[in-house]
Amino acid sequence: MKFWAASSLVALATVCLAAPSIAQQSASNPMPQNVVPDKVWPASAEQVDYTALQKLPDWRGLWSPMMGEAAKPEIPQLKGKYKAHYDEIQTLIKTGDPEALLKVERRASACEPPGMPGIMTQPYNLEFLFTPGRVTVIQEAYMQVRRIFTDGRPLPEDPDPTYNGSSIGHWEGDTLVVTTIGLRDGGTMGRWGITYSDKVKLTERIHLDPANKDVLIVENTFEDPEALIAPWHSVYKFKRERGFDQIEFVCAQNDRNPINEEGEVEFLGVGD
């Protein structure tokens, strides 16, 4: 989007030097010719101040979810179809059906990412990168990325719903406060049958544990005028690993667990 605008001159120059067939393809590009960015925000600006990064807390290393530390979630005060959905999954859980969650949270593919906030707690690790005006979160599983802009820009007014939404953040001391909107209707706030609408707003307060600098705490607050009567809260904890780096993870490389029309995960063995 912005990248296109920023790089359009370079692209144009390249096209002019390229074969006519490529130029013809560019002529049919649906991107309007007269789009100019409203403003270049600091995260992408030519003049940047890296010195400000020195004041930020040390979040280097990799962060693995401490699932055993997960507190029992609050009982959400849901309404409408979101309450009906929650009640359905709670009934399934009480039956002891190990597929209960999957039956309600159907996906098109086992490689489909969970979206926010599930991206934060997949059983792999997170990496945080600080650059001027921006925090980037990389989830090792499927190499997913979250972009949190801390350069003062506002949230988009009418974002297309996406798996990880649109996020802006700011620092309150050593706590990164992140606001996310633009999530897809039906996404889960947690794997307890608690789902949100596309009007959900998530606020995360992310900081190191004052008692242990190798523990990262994420405090979530969900507000949703369509799904929730009152805000719903959850807390995630992560343990730091400094001795490892993330490894490439391409889920499409050898996915032998397709999901069938009944929503069941299959296992493609020898000859299947």
Binding site: L62, C111, G118, N257, V270
Partner: protein
């Protein structure tokens, strides 16, 4: 990497956390089967590593089993490498079998020809 897969399963089964790729309900996680066999294929891939193993039954009939593991990202932290197995290796595998009775399962551990044990974590 370094995530304890089975621990993740245990939590997931309590409906309190996410599994990355798929649930383990297709496997009989309370049942361990141990068999001797010969590796025919080893796939060091995501989202799962796999081994195929020829296992002979009591009557001498051989079946090729597909055994799923967690990912290379996790396995490297418990000693696995892409060269840990190769076709022709005589191994002893322990796995949770598929519930549907097909020739597949989720690996618990494998004993390599030199006696080294690699776990699926």
């Amino acid at each position: 990497m370094r995530m304890k897969w089975l621990a993740a399963f245990a939590v997931a089964s309590l409906a309190a956390a996410a599994t990355a790729h798929h649930s383990f309900s297709m496997f009989d996680m309370k049942k361990d089967v141990t068999a001797k066999g010969t590796v025919t294929e080893f796939k060091w891939t995501n989202p799962h590593a796999w081994m195929h193993v020829d296992v002979a039954d009591a009557k001498g009939a051989t079946t090729n089993w597909a055994i799923e593991m967690t990912s290379p990202n996790n396995l490297v932290s418990v000693g696995w490498r892409r060269s840990s197995l190769k076709p022709g290796d005589k191994v002893t595998v322990t796995y949770h079998p598929l519930v549907n009775g097909k020739a597949g399962g989720s690996l618990v551990k494998v004993v390599l020809p030199d006696g080294k044990v690699l776990e699926n974590k």
